[in-house]
């Protein structure tokens, strides 16, 4: 592939159709991800970050969800146009997924070796001793101690951090080009989280895999990501290199988040909260969804959704403040 672009999402729109009505969960999301790169998709609960990620691997229950528009180009192939059978060749093989809670993403009634070996068996046809050797080596790579003895254990015999490492070994088992990690360390303790993130970084360096990391935790972003996309109410409001996001955030929401998060490194002595709360996906929104909570709101913001402005190379902002001639 030219430019080494592994994943390109274009104008993705996803809605949920429930008894409460139609909810626009993802409203025109676009981003791309290169080989060996980690993109952080950051936002609060309900902002559409998980829905975006699950649309890529088409793991959203449809209905109630419906992908209304957009393209998901993986290695140039539009995943949204594939049928279910063709999609299976991507899921688990080309794209690995790590979910938040390892206790619910591992099956309690199958042993670890079965679960780690399943996709190797399905996608690469391994079996018998070859499969077992491969499973043991995978577990070893994820630093499971004494993997040859532990492979026959069941998930409940593992600690939380080890379970999440097992999930990681499943995700990398078929040498994927992309790993989608949805809050991979949120269920883990602080020191175990640090271990897991370091391991993910090492694997990424070895394999050159691209990682789409979904998180709400800025310390995870700082440790893992090369680039960051900040989401609010179903739209990406700012995309930039990680340093830019931390040092020169341009969107008022990103700025507000930075001053609302109690950061132990940059001690400010006080917190500036963002008043109000994010809109529900069922709410009809006129203009910029952040306008009701924005400190720099203008009349224009309440009338129309701002376009995406390229502020610098690799720094996109969706805000009227940055549209030439709009701020008056």
């Amino acid at each position: 592939m030219k430019d080494d672009v592994v994943l390109k999402v274009e104008d993705l729109k996803v809605s949920f159709h429930t008894k409460r009505g139609t909810g626009q969960a993802v409203n025109g999301v676009s981003f791309s991800l290169k080989r060996g790169e980690t993109l952080g998709l950051v936002g609060e609960s309900g902002c559409g970050k998980s829905t975006t990620a699950m649309s890529i691997v088409r793991l959203l229950p449809q209905p109630p969800a419906r992908i209304d528009a957009g393209r998901v180009l993986f290695d140039g192939e539009n995943l949204l146009a594939l049928d279910e059978e063709e999609m299976r060749a991507y899921r688990g093989q080309q794209i690995g997924v790590i979910f938040q809670d390892p206790m619910s993403s591992l099956n309690p009634v199958y042993n670890i070796s079965f679960q780690v070996g399943e996709s190797l068996h399905v996608h690469q046809g391994l079996h018998g001793q070859t499969l077992m050797d491969q499973v043991v080596s995978l577990l070893g790579r994820l630093r499971i101690p004494a993997p040859e003895n532990r492979a026959k254990d069941f998930p409940h015999q593992f600690s939380g951090g080890m379970r999440q490492r097992v999930v990681g070994s499943i995700a990398i088992s078929c040498q994927p080009k992309l790993i989608i990690a949805d809050e991979p360390t949120t269920a883990l303790d602080a020191t175990i989280q640090a271990q897991y993130l370091r391991l993910l970084r090492e694997l990424q360096n070895e394999m050159g895999v691209a990682i789409l990391l979904i998180t709400h935790d800025f310390s995870v972003v700082a440790k893992m990501c090369h680039r960051v996309a900040v989401m609010y109410a179903g739209a990406i409001v700012e995309t930039a290199q990680v340093d830019t996001i931390f040092n020169e955030p341009a969107h008022p929401y990103t700025k507000a988040l930075m001053s609302a998060v109690p950061d132990i490194a940059a001690w400010k002595g006080h917190l500036t909260p963002i008043e109000g709360s994010p809109p529900s996906i069922y709410q009809q929104i006129q203009g910029c969804p952040f306008a009701p909570r924005c400190a720099s709101v203008m009349d224009r913001c309440r009338e129309a959704m701002p376009p995406v402005v390229q502020k610098a190379s690799d720094h996109d902002v969706r805000c009227w403040l940055h549209v030439q001639g709009a701020a008056a």
């Binding site: 020191t191 800025f218 440790k223 340093d243 950061d263 132990i264 917190l271 909260p273």
Partner: protein, 338 residues
């Protein structure tokens, strides 16, 4: 009901005094096995914890899951009886209180828990949720109670007309404010905050943290804060106690703790919470291994199995908490020679 004058008197005479004092508190849970349910061992959930909280101050208990911080808070709330040791509230042993003293204690010590969705009854109107502790503890006339409900709601930034709504009609941050209003309604002296903001969205956490800080100043409240997020802890607490496997390994004034952490475990916790980037200049500390079982804690220093600076004596000699700077104690052999 306690009059304002009385409360003021307490404040004047007791200023700078401990409101809560834990003396070598131990809680072991028996592990039973077999048909005869024989005790085969004990989980050393809390193993010799001593802690003081002064009036108007916040002490934070920090540590990973299973370190005993929640058990400690349950002991303070009298939801668990300590195996050994004493808990003194305003000088009285809370487990040897008379019925009248106990009633008073239950009014003066309140709690706010992590998840407001499970700590608030879904079938009660918010006004009633906030009124209940007052009706039970203060025996006030109903009209007075309803006035106070309105005041409590407004003091946490909620509209008092929302008293007739149910918890599910509120957002997560608003629900946590309801829980705070309820705790506040009976004019408590000490509030146990068990992960008060960790279930809330990042943009909402700051709102609740600021409310907690303002209320503390207004009412001279003392907080025992249980939290794993060091950012929250830095903003709310005056002192920090780090727990590992049932024991306090370091205790320090908050600023001193962040500027000069001594225990290797504290350093690792801080490193894990920092946004340390490649260009950040700080070395990232990543611990190896996992937290050992509290049923069978390691010999010597309990942290030695994961400690990056472990020395030979660490696996055999138990370190004791010693003061290394004013008010800053640490339990680690690295500082033995100082």
């Amino acid at each position: 009901m306690i009059s304002g004058q009385q409360a003021q008197q307490v404040m004047v005479t007791r200023a700078n005094e401990d409101i809560l004092k834990l003396e070598d508190v131990v809680k072991w849970f028996p592990v039973r096995k077999g048909v005869l349910r024989r005790t085969v061992g004990h989980v050393h959930a809390v193993d010799g914890v001593s802690l003081d909280i002064k009036i108007g101050q916040t002490v934070a208990l920090v540590g990973e899951s299973g370190c005993g911080k929640t058990t400690t808070s349950k002991i303070v709330l009298r939801l668990e009886i300590p195996t050994r040791g004493r808990v003194l509230f305003e000088g009285t042993d809370v487990n040897r209180m008379s019925a009248a003293e106990s009633r008073d204690y239950r009014r003066k010590v309140q709690a706010v828990f992590q998840d407001p969705m499970s700590s608030l009854s879904p079938r009660m109107r918010v006004g009633m949720i906030i009124a209940e502790p007052m009706l039970v503890n203060l025996g006030l006339p109903r009209r007075e109670v309803m006035t106070r409900v309105g005041e409590a709601m407004e003091s946490v930034g909620l509209d008092s007309t929302a008293a007739s709504m149910y918890p599910h009609e509120f957002s997560g941050g608003q629900r946590q404010r309801i829980a705070i209003a309820r705790a506040l309604s009976v004019d408590p002296r000490l509030i146990i905050l068990d992960e008060p903001v960790s279930s809330l969205d990042i943009s909402i956490q700051a709102q609740v943290i600021n409310i907690l800080k303002r209320l503390q100043d207004e009412h001279q409240l003392s907080y025992l804060l249980i939290a794993h997020n060091l950012g929250t802890v830095r903003y709310l607490s005056n002192r920090i106690a780090v727990m590992y496997l049932g024991q306090i390994v370091e205790e320090s004034p908050t600023e001193e703790f962040f500027n000069n952490p001594l225990h290797p475990y504290s350093k690792a916790l801080i490193s894990a919470a920092l946004p340390s980037r490649a260009n950040d200049g700080r070395e990232e500390i990543v611990l190896s291994g996992e937290v050992p079982s509290p049923q069978n804690p390691p010999q010597g220093c309990r942290f030695h199995t994961r400690c990056p600076s472990a020395m030979p004596q660490c696996s055999s000699v138990v370190p004791t908490l010693r003061e290394r700077a004013p008010g800053h104690t640490v339990s680690c052999h690295l500082y033995d020679s100082f």
